[in-house]
Amino acid sequence: MRGGALPGALLCVALGLGLASAREKTVVLGLAVLVVTASAIALAPVPQSWSDIVFLGCWISIIASAAIVYAPWTLEDKAALALSLNGGVWTGALIALAPSKLGLIHALPFSLCTWPGAWARRRGEAIGLKVLASWLIGVAALAATLQFLPATPGYGPDHMD
């Protein structure tokens, strides 16, 4: 009950937005690294006991990748590739833990948002990316906290009651 392909898809969106500030050749290479790494790890036997660590790694990676959107400079090649490798590791691990490997097909295409993102940056309209990145950071922070909360406050009376 932990979201199926959704966490991986969110990570791919965050990675795509982060890569939007890299050089175009590096973006292509980065996406290739993402696909290869994620596919390899998705097929690997990841123990279910690693679940908490994998999800935490996913949320931290989403925050780190989305935060790059706020950087005014071009992302360096090595940093972009490291980011892609990191994204691939956690996306693959998430899918390896999921009941179906088909989640990979659902998640990876979201990384293609890097091209509309790069287009928006070139047009000087990166603010749309920043708004989206803030939402992703919010989701990741909330989901990471919920992961460590043994019981949510529940259906108590609303503050309007």
């Binding site: 959704l6 948002c113 993102g117 939402w135 919010g138 990741a140 949510t152």
Partner: protein, 216 residues
Amino acid sequence: MTRRIAGTSQEGPSAPRPGLFSAATALPIVFGAAAVTPAYAHSGTGLADGFESGFSHPLTGVDHLLAMVSVGIWGAFLGRPLVYALPVIFPLIMVGGAILGMFSLPMPPVELGIAASVLILGLCICLAIQAPVWIACAIVAIFAVFHGYAHGVELPSAADPVGYSVGFVLATGLLHVLGIGIGLLNALPTGVLVTRSLGGAVVVAGAWYLAGALGL
């Protein structure tokens, strides 16, 4: 804090321009909506309930809804950079407030804070207050903590955490975008009158909530 009337020749470079909103606001909506698609495609995870529960949570309280839409409308009045900065700040700080609420950390009376937020944000729109960037950010951030806290302490246990988080943040963000969209009316000849009148209505609602919170 200075006051001036938006929609006049005194607006200057910070005034909202309709062209700004095309691609910039479309990207979060398109990607945000696209990002939740697998929630429905992947059956058996309980994700739809989580997403729906999270998405509907900010929409169920009229006070929250008014405050979040008001942030967007006020941002449209303030123009760049606040028209975009406020919708970035509010969800982020609100998540921080929600985390405080989840752990039930002590806070000043939340009802008062929320009622005050509706009242003050309504006043900011009604009076077309042009606050400096840091003051506007501080006002919105403080109110975001109260709203987030209220959401956090009411968090349902049954929701799927990931789907719930996506729905919760997405609904909040879209309410801001709705407010910015309403703020686009400022570009029309009588648009400023309409948006400021809406601000007046929000003030009345805020005063009502504040009276209720104070037990009057």
